[in-house]
């Protein structure tokens, strides 16, 4: 009787011991088998390279006879939060707080349409540009970047400007801006702005 009880307990202990051995081995194996969290053979995004341009030096638009020096500007010195403008009527101004022309996103260049005493300034005919017209930017290294007009839009002078300055980083665009519309005598400004959008010509969109 005693022997039988001892035998039963012995068998029980043996089974339990075997079970613990198996479980511990599995746990250890799981602990050691850790997948790396970030290296993967499956692409997890997309990327594209671009030739990083220098700052723009000249803007050439054959269709409207523009061949202008490009100034570099930030915000207006007046502190009104508006983008800076060229200091004369023959140059254009690149907004240097955004991308350079030729970089992904939207580069912005503006120019005067006229002056108080100047009938026709550099962007007087900007509104005449049509989709397909060529726009060239020569950067300070002498690299010529070819753009092509894709659209022309008109905004009220005080419109939100998010879609003018911020765009899809998969595209390389250039927005050209000047004044248009009626003259507001009280505010001493034109009521609208013309924005011509050109896209960089690459092998993919020739």
């Amino acid at each position: 009787m005693k022997k039988a009880v001892l035998l039963s307990i012995g068998v029980g202990l043996l089974v339990a011991g075997l079970s613990v051995f198996i479980q511990t081995r599995e746990l250890a194996a799981q602990t050691y088998t850790q997948e790396p969290t970030s290296s993967s053979t499956t692409p997890q995004g997309s990327g594209t390279s671009f030739t990083e341009p220098a700052a723009p030096a000249r803007l050439i638009i054959p269709a409207i006879g523009v061949d202008a020096n490009v100034q570099s500007v930030g915000l207006s010195w007046k502190g009104d939060g508006k983008v800076g403008i060229p200091t004369n009527f023959t140059d254009v101004a690149w907004y240097n707080q955004g991308p350079k022309p030729g970089m992904p996103g939207i580069a912005v260049i503006n120019g005067h349409v006229d002056g108080k005493d100047v009938e026709k300034a550099v962007f007087y005919d900007l509104g005449k540009l049509k989709p397909g017209d060529a726009v060239e930017v020569v950067d300070k290294k002498g690299t010529v970047l070819q753009f092509r007009v894709v659209e022309s839009r008109t905004y009220d002078y005080d419109s939100p400007t998010d879609d003018i300055f911020i765009g899809d980083s998969a595209k390389t665009r250039l927005n050209l801006i000047t004044c248009s519309g009626d003259w507001d005598r009280e505010k001493k400004t034109y009521r609208q702005r013309t924005v011509v959008t050109a896209e960089l010509v690459t092998e993919g969109n020739l």
């Binding site: 997890q44 997309s46 990327g47 990083e52 939060g81 005493d117 400007t161 400004t189």
Partner: protein, 207 residues
């Protein structure tokens, strides 16, 4: 036969009881030692060194002297140093630690560089890097990306998952790697960027 059933039941009860107690003891299974690899790596100044931790409990903390660590919990860790020297990076897990040594040598003039060597972006943000030096002709590659156009001095990428990603630029048979740490987006959306107002590009001639 009656007796045998009784003893079999006793064996079963004993086994179940001991196994029950043993579940508690499983939590005391040994934690594998934490390690950091490669134990030693040599990179140029401002070039990324990528380190990998293993072992421990799977949760890591990376640190180093004078190291500004933004995201320290991953399995992999990227670091760059501006000044030549030998630097030690420590990875800790489950109360244990291991070290990796990063030897930084001066970059030779005109040598291929990828910058910034290490950067953080959040999911959906675009990471941009640029190459300088080398032959002036570059090819970009990455195990993490579908690359549309591999040639150019700059490269922009967006990622669909978090983690440490690498971008390698090759020029004249020499390669250099930039690391991009893609972090989960903030729970609160970032404030919209402030764009400037439209320019005053008219003088009202004759008006």
């Amino acid at each position: 036969m009656k007796m045998n059933k009784k003893y079999a039941l006793l064996s079963f009860v004993t086994a179940v009881a001991v196994m029950g107690m043993s579940f508690g003891s499983i939590s005391f299974a040994q934690t594998p030692p934490v390690s950091c690899s490669p134990a030693s790596s040599t990179v140029s100044a401002n070039q990324a060194a990528t380190l990998t931790a293993s072992g421990g409990n799977g949760t890591y903390t990376w640190s180093g002297t004078n190291l500004n660590v933004t995201n320290s919990a991953g399995t992999q860790f990227a670091v760059s140093y501006p000044t030549p020297g030998t630097y030690t990076v420590i990875v800790s897990s489950a109360g244990q630690s291991a070290t990796c040594s990063v030897v930084v040598v001066a970059a030779t003039s005109g040598s291929l560089a990828c910058s910034p060597a290490v950067q953080n972006v959040t999911l959906g943000q675009t990471a941009s890097v640029s190459a300088t030096g080398g032959t002036g002709t570059y090819v970009w590659s990455s195990p993490d990306l579908t690359i549309i156009n591999p040639n150019g001095s700059g490269f922009s990428a967006s990622y669909a998952s978090t983690g440490l990603k690498t971008l390698t630029v090759t020029s004249g048979g020499v390669s250099n790697t930039c690391a991009i740490n893609v972090l989960a987006g903030s729970t609160t959306p970032p404030p919209p960027p402030v764009t400037p107002g439209l320019p005053e590009t008219g003088g009202g001639y004759g008006k």
